[in-house]
């Protein structure tokens, strides 16, 4: 028996060098039917009591030793694989598929980041609206010529329409919440327009509202300056001018110098040299009053802008219909 143990040990020494796969090595010695150690152990019951006393522990010891050695080899092997290196690290593989947010929503998300940093909350409102919130509360009485600025799509039900701007959400928030208020909202708006490369019957608007004590035109100018710097870079050049919008007084139009022609006039800026980015102003006295906010105590500013043109410019999309309905190569 001693001899057998000795031979086995020697063979194992050889095998551990030669047999690369630790699992195969384990099976060779410990498989239930043919394992070399298993076989020796199977022979134990046939021995005399004295021999049992002598070789039982020896065989046990052998079993433990070999198993431990195999385990060590296995661990070594594993760490070896982990540290293994490839000779050629230049082989290119195609990208792992990741998901993408729609360009318009990605743009909105970026803008929301800017405004939440400045303490604005993000709100929403309905697209099916009443004339009260879409027009009246925004200082647009029935039959006012300015209602013509927006060709409204009406629902087949008297008094209901599809909102023509996100200012309707402003009217709702001003009505439902007490100042101080600082909110932005983005969403779909609808106009009765014929489909073309640049127009669809629905657009995306972005709206901001700021109502507090002591809010002035100075604050509006500064907020919008930072906003444009955020969108277009620090060297953006802006022009502030008076512009009428029914829901504000005084109203303010904001243009940025066309970066394509540096103000000289080109196709992008329709030869104006400036690109109109948004409309804004101090919230109309009557709007605040109609929304039950005291305009003698609180003042506020609001601004609104169309997003689609900016998104199309950013992604080089020449047809708005492609932005909302064709398959993207994300």
């Amino acid at each position: 028996m001693d001899q057998k143990i000795k031979t086995l040990k020697e063979q194992f020494k050889k095998d551990i060098q030669e047999i690369q796969d630790p699992d195969a090595l384990y099976l060779k010695y410990f498989s239930k039917s043919k394992g070399l150690v298993t076989q020796l152990l199977k022979g134990l019951p046939g021995l005399s009591i004295d021999e049992k006393r002598e070789f039982g522990p020896k065989l046990n010891q052998l079993q433990q030793d070999l198993k431990q050695k195999i385990e060590v080899t296995q661990k070594e092997k594993e760490s070896e694989t982990a540290n293994e290196t490839l000779d050629d690290l230049t082989i290119p593989y195609s990208a792992k598929k990741t998901g993408h947010i729609h360009p318009t929503n990605a743009f909105i998300k970026e803008m929301n980041k800017f405004f939440t940093y400045y303490g604005f909350s993000i709100v929403e409102g309905p697209e099916i609206e009443t004339a009260e919130y879409n027009f009246r509360k925004l200082n647009l009485p029935e039959n006012h010529p300015a209602t013509d600025l927006q060709d409204t799509l009406f629902i087949k039900s008297p008094g209901l329409l599809l909102r023509t701007h996100t200012s309707s959400v402003e009217a709702r928030i001003l009505t439902d919440y007490d100042p101080p208020i600082r909110v932005v909202n983005a969403g779909k708006v609808y106009r009765n327009e014929t489909q073309s490369k640049t127009n669809t019957a629905f657009f995306h608007h972005y709206q901001g509202v700021f109502v507090d004590k002591g809010v002035t035109l100075q604050h509006l100018k500064a907020t919008l300056t930072r906003f444009h710097q955020f969108l277009f870079g620090d060297d953006v050049e802006l022009r502030f001018r008076y512009k009428y919008y029914p829901e504000v007084s005084p109203g303010m139009g904001v243009d940025m110098k066309c970066s394509f022609c540096n103000g000289a006039g080109c196709d992008v800026c329709k030869q104006r040299g400036w690109i109109e980015v948004l409309g804004s102003g101090m919230i109309h006295y009557n709007t605040l009053k109609m929304c039950e906010i005291d305009p003698e105590v609180y003042t506020g500013f609001a601004f609104g802008m169309g997003l689609d043109r900016l998104v199309m410019q950013k992604y080089g999309i020449d047809d708005i219909r492609k932005l909302y309905g064709s398959v993207f190569d994300y």
Partner: protein, 657 residues
């Protein structure tokens, strides 16, 4: 508003270049809209963007007034005939009757006799041409000239062509027609009003003149009118008839009735000068003269809006330059009479606007708001939509936004349809995002771009037909926020595989959103299954798509996420079942999962058919994960029995040994 620079200089003396003049106009509220053009006479012509509110900015004089104020220049106002006209005899009078006083505020007329109709002077023709109105004859040209100069449309008619000396303004009758100056025959409706004589329409008031009484070279006596009409009615009539002209452009704005008098005086001055003749009175129909508007301006209000105090002397100077009249003055502010032509001034802040804009917005300081941020009120719907977007893109899905306008389908009772759509294809709103996102999915399949696509958007329906949880509902209409995802199959892909991918994505989404314990419930013979959590319906799932309700997701998310658990012992139990084709496996696993709180999950390890399974049935291998603090053999035994009982008794499932 087209502004020939040479004409502008009639009222204001400026040496500035056309570009500089355009810059001033842009700052004060009339932005240069198109590149500066040169007329055939070599003069610059500006095209300024007009914004509906300022009716006086549709006149060169009105534009010149603001320009002069901003530039600190004098405004030269045109000469008008202020000598009283000769009273007309009763026989020669043309009485005015208005049968629709709700549509007419003022109808101001004069008679001019013994005029000589011929070509108008060259300077006038040139200005009109630069503005964009062709010259006709001196009388028509003068009415056009004064309209562009003052913004009030005027209208001259040949008295000799009247069958009866009268002007009756009434609503048009059904099927009545009028032949306009250019020979077009227009069909009138009772919603429109017309000027008539001898019960025949002769002019569409405030819109276009008629051919029958038009001034020609033979004309000697004319009746000249300036009317102030209901601007909304003008707008609707002009739209209905598709007439856009210089007259409509002005009549549809809020013009002041006083302007009729000023414009008539100016026109008469020019007519007498250019065409000769003598002016006589005729009726001025003005039953309810409008008083001039007065308003208080507080200096403090200017500071409150503009951020900085403006010296009272500067305020007074600027306002007087644009014709505000100071009625009273105090330390605190001014009592002002608003210029009659400023029909846009409604509140004190409008006067503040005048003060601020005439000093140029560019000069207003730029200061960040110092106020502390208010309470955050970000809507939970927005947060959920954003979370859904992030989660789905994280697991590899692409977001799309599609046009919610769809074709009307009269079969669909709950569809929201539009009253005035421009095209049939876009005459209603979608009730399901799949209606519009489905087209993208089809296209992606055609192009061989498999994968999961989704849209977060709204659906619209008539109430009662859709989900109860609608954000806002007006009368019978409602809208709800949804997320819909479609698994675009690869070409030749197995449907089961496609569905598995969709389910995996849904499970991934719920895992990201920390929405637990969801299950599926499929009604008999339905191609859709509900996605539920307890009794809450989260949405529906079909073979290749699912749709979830954003508000339901918010509710489902209420359980706080558990990221650290107590130490528990766990064990598994396997069950091999035979279920009939009709039985829903998802419903069985859900029933087991909610059977005992020690059951954590019931997984399908394998689903198979084969020789040993009778036809029409499936073999299913379930693994039930049990976990509890100090789990004992008795626990396991108990659960084993409970599950077996549930499977056999409630679901009638055979358990294979």
């Amino acid at each position: 508003m087209v502004l020939p620079i040479e004409w502008l200089k009639e009222y204001v003396n400026t040496n500035k270049s056309a570009e500089e003049i355009a810059e001033t106009f842009t700052a004060l509220g009339l932005m240069l809209d198109k590149p500066i053009e040169e007329s055939t006479f070599g003069n610059a012509v500006l095209d300024l963007e007009h914004r509906m509110d300022r009716a006086d900015w549709l006149s060169i004089l009105g534009c010149a007034r603001d320009f002069a104020a901003m530039e600190g220049l004098e405004l030269k106002t045109p000469e008008r005939e202020i000598k009283k006209p000769t009273p007309i005899t009763k026989n020669e009078q043309i009485p005015v009757t208005v049968n629709c006083p709700e549509l007419v505020s003022r109808f101001n007329t004069r008679i001019i006799k013994d005029i000589k109709v011929e070509e108008s002077p060259k300077w006038m023709q040139q200005r009109l041409q630069e503005y964009g109105i062709p010259a006709i004859n001196n009388i028509v040209d003068i009415t056009n000239y004064v309209m562009v100069e003052y913004g009030q449309p005027l209208h001259a008619q040949d008295i000799a062509k009247f069958e009866k000396r009268e002007i009756v303004i009434r609503k048009a009758k059904e099927d009545e027609t009028l032949t306009t100056l250019d020979g077009t025959v227009i069909k009138l409706t009772p919603k429109m009003f017309v000027l008539t004589q001898n019960d025949k329409p002769i002019t569409l008031g405030g819109i276009v003149g008629g051919k029958e009484t038009a001034v020609t070279n033979e004309t000697t006596d004319i009746v000249l009118d300036a009317g102030n009409y209901n601007q909304a009615n003008i707008r609707h009539t002009a739209r209905a008839l598709s007439i856009r002209n210089e007259t409509v452009l002005r009549s549809e704005k809020f013009l002041h009735p006083k302007l009729t008098q000023v414009a008539l005086e100016r026109a008469i001055k020019l007519i007498l000068e250019i065409a000769g003749g003598e002016c006589y009175t005729n009726q001025d129909w003005y039953p309810a003269p409008q008083e001039p508007q007065t308003m208080q301006l507080r200096y403090k209000r200017i500071e409150k809006i503009g951020g900085e105090a403006v010296k009272p002397s500067v305020v007074k100077d600027l306002l007087q330059k644009i014709d505000y009249e100071i009625l009273e003055e105090s330390k605190e502010g001014l009592k002002l009479q608003i210029p009659y032509f400023r029909t846009d001034v409604l509140v004190e802040d409008d006067i503040v606007s005048d003060v601020l804009r005439l000093q140029n917005y560019e000069n207003i300081k730029t200061i960040m708001p110092p106020q502390a941020p208010p309470k955050n009120i970000t809507f939970k719907e927005h947060k959920m939509k954003q979370a859904v977007r992030e989660a789905l893109t994280k697991i590899g899905a692409d977001e799309y936004v599609t046009n919610p306008l769809v074709a009307a389908d009269l079969e669909k009772e709950d569809q929201v349809r539009l009253e005035n759509a421009l095209s049939k294809e876009q005459s209603a709103l979608r009730a399901d995002i799949k209606e519009t996102l489905g087209k993208v999915a089809k296209e992606a399949f055609k192009q061989g771009k498999p994968g999961l696509i989704f849209e977060v958007g709204r659906v619209y329906y008539k109430k009662g037909a859709g989900a109860k949880k609608a954000e806002k509902a007006f009368k019978d209409y409602a809208e709800a926020r949804k997320v819909t995802a479609i698994q675009v199959p690869s070409k030749g892909g197995y449907l089961k595989e496609v569905h598995k991918n969709l389910k995996t994505a849904l499970a991934g989404l719920f895992s990201e959103l920390e929405i637990k314990d969801f299950y599926f419930e499929q009604p008999k013979d339905s191609e859709k299954a509900f996605i539920k959590q307890e009794n809450l319906k989260l949405g529906t799932i079909e073979t290749t798509s699912f749709s979830l309700d954003i508000e339901a997701l918010i509710e489902a998310q209420k359980t706080p996420p558990k990221i650290i658990r107590e130490h528990t012992n766990s064990s598994t139990l396997d069950f091999s079942l035979v279920v009939s084709k009709e039985q829903r496996i998802g419903e069985i696993t859900h029933a087991i999962e909610i059977l005992d709180e020690r059951i954590k999950e019931c997984k399908i390890l394998e689903e198979y058919t084969g020789e040993e399974i009778e036809k029409g049935s499936r073999g299913v291998l379930l693994e039930v994960l049990i976990s509890a603090v100090d789990l004992t053999g008795d626990d396991i035994q108990e659960i084993q029995e409970a599950v077996t009982k549930k499977l056999e008794k409630t679901h009638g499932v055979k358990i294979r040994k």
